[in-house]
């Protein structure tokens, strides 16, 4: 195996924890059981690395196979790097009829037309998702497998999730996608996060939403904390109402795990003139950036709202995270987030 292959493999080994690595190798059909058992994951990475290299060499495997391995590994633990969502617009009539095989070959052909050196790998994940690994090169250099772009797309849906794509390559990818999915336009969905699952669930509505209904929802029962006949909660219905509102705004149960929400304000500064005259005097929009960050943003918002720390009904600025499925907003003078959905 050439030196580049070594580096690729080494990087893969180093940045994945031993157990995950083990699992990945398990998923990978190429290894025989004996080979799989031979690798001892308790020893330090370096040694593991050596063993793997040995195995690869005796089977004469090359970069191609390593990328395969890497891809599987990425598919298994996808919550790495920064994922960005794109939304394709105005579909043609046949958009819904696209099926995998044709998409595969179309995408590959389109992309290779656009870019000279590019290596594309497409795999279908268990959840019907198409995983695309693109190693970009350009007309002079061969595909760079060290920083590949990953694209995840569910056929028949307008959404595409992309990670580690640089602006130079974006137009190519976009075009190839449009051409091979039968849509006519594509735009940034203004949603990004470290967890692929989170942004996918948010856009594909794969989390539990709560809607107003005439039957009293299970939420109210959940909210009941009557521990003793002598303890009475006045305003308990207010609490349950708050909870209902909070859940309507941010979802119930396990919500998509977003980390950030960013609001770019371009509004006129309001405030009494005498306190900060400098701010009120200046003409032109008052720019500032508000950023909420948390390990699980929606959950914390929901908690805030239900516990009454935040006001209910929830401010549209916050509720539009789930409503519009985005976590980057530009708030202009009219107050509400400018919606391009």
């Amino acid at each position: 195996m050439d030196d580049f292959g070594r580096r690729l493999l080494q990087r893969l080994v180093r940045r994945t924890p031993a157990q995950a690595l083990k699992a990945t190798l398990g998923k990978w059909e190429r290894l025989t059981v004996a080979q799989r058992q031979s690798v001892d994951f308790t020893q330090p990475k370096v040694a593991v690395m050596e063993q793997l290299v040995a195995i690869f060499e005796e089977n004469g495997w090359t970069v191609k196979h390593i990328t395969e391995l890497e891809m599987i590994n990425y598919m298994e633990n996808a919550n790495r790097g920064m994922w960005h969502a794109f939304q394709m617009t105005d579909p043609k009539d046949d958009a819904n009829a696209v099926e995998m095989m044709q998409f595969k070959e179309q995408f590959k052909s389109h992309l290779s037309e656009l870019v000279r050196h590019v290596s594309v790998k497409i795999k279908k994940h268990t959840d019907e998702a198409l995983w695309i690994r693109i190693a970009w090169g350009d007309s002079y250099s061969p595909p760079n497998h060290l920083k590949p772009t990953y694209v995840v797309h569910h056929l028949q849906t307008p959404y595409v999730f992309v990670t580690s794509l640089n602006s130079k390559q974006k137009p190519f990818l976009v075009q190839a996608l449009i051409l091979s999915t039968g849509y006519q336009g594509i735009k940034d969905a203004n949603l990004s996060g470290q967890k692929l699952t989170a942004i996918r669930d948010l856009l594909m509505k794969q989390y539990q939403q709560i809607f107003p209904s005439k039957y009293n929802s299970p939420l109210t029962e959940k909210n009941e904390t009557v521990s003793n006949p002598h303890i009475e909660r006045e305003q308990s219905e207010h609490a349950s109402k708050r909870l209902q509102m909070a859940c309507e705004a941010f979802g119930d149960g396990i919500v998509p795990q977003l980390q950030t929400a960013v609001y770019k304000l371009e509004t006129k500064f309001r405030g009494d003139a005498n306190t900060n005259r400098t701010m009120t005097k200046r003409e032109g929009p008052f720019r500032c950036l508000v950023k909420f960050a948390s390990t699980n943003l929606l959950e914390s918002f929901r908690e805030c709202a239900s516990s009454g720390i935040a006001s209910t009904p929830v401010s549209p600025l916050l509720s539009s995270i789930t409503l519009k499925g985005r976590n980057y907003f530009v708030v202009t003078e009219n107050g509400l987030p400018s919606s391009q959905t």
Partner: protein
């Protein structure tokens, strides 16, 4: 983030201390806390008292909703739990005060402050807290809500006040006790403690 409890009440009725008859050998305490955290523990501890039956009503703020007006027993003591690390907590308590009948301020209101020894408590807020309590002639108790012992002692102190306020102690009245325990604004002892 916009903050403030927006739950709007249509009926702005005062809470009155003597509008109802007392129950036999029972006392009712109303715990008002914006965060609704500490009140639950306190309530559990309060009802544990075996000598009298203690009813606890929990509220986030005043006024109380009209619809459980009739189910509500006569409230003998109103306790405002204030988390000194949050300005909001104090503000909401202040706002709630105006829904109390003046009668309550004759010894049937008391403030319970938590986190007083926390680093992040500005002196101003502490002073404001004391001024408020002093101006209303109410006792201001401090509690350690973090530790079980703290909760227990807070409970017992509230019970001590409650029993008197509910007229269960034959030799004392609420007004009498409050005249002994009411908060006073202490002098700012401003000799730096290390110098």
């Amino acid at each position: 983030m916009k903050v403030g409890d927006l739950s709007v009440y249509i009926d702005m009725s005062l809470l009155k201390p003597f509008s109802k008859l007392p129950a036999l050998n029972a006392a009712t305490i109303l715990l008002v806390e914006r965060e609704e955290r500490f009140q639950q523990n306190l309530a559990d501890a309060l009802v544990g008292d075996t000598t009298v039956t203690v009813n606890v009503r929990l509220a986030k703020s005043l006024p109380l909703p009209m619809d459980n007006e009739e189910s509500r027993p006569r409230i003998d003591l109103v306790v405002f739990i204030i988390n000194l690390t949050s300005e909001l907590s104090l503000k909401s308590a202040e706002a709630s005060l105006k829904y109390l009948d003046p009668g309550y301020f004759l010894g049937k209101v008391c403030f319970l402050a938590t986190n007083a020894r926390n680093t992040s408590v500005p002196t101003e807020r502490l002073d404001a807290m004391r001024k408020l309590a002093a101006s209303l002639h109410c006792p201001l108790l401090f509690a350690e809500d973090q530790t079980p012992d703290g909760v227990n002692s807070a409970t017992e102190r509230l019970l001590t006040v409650l029993k008197v306020a509910a007229g269960l102690v034959p030799t004392a009245t609420a007004l009498y006790l409050s005249s002994l325990t009411r908060c006073t604004i202490p002098p700012d002892i401003d000799q730096p403690s290390f110098e």
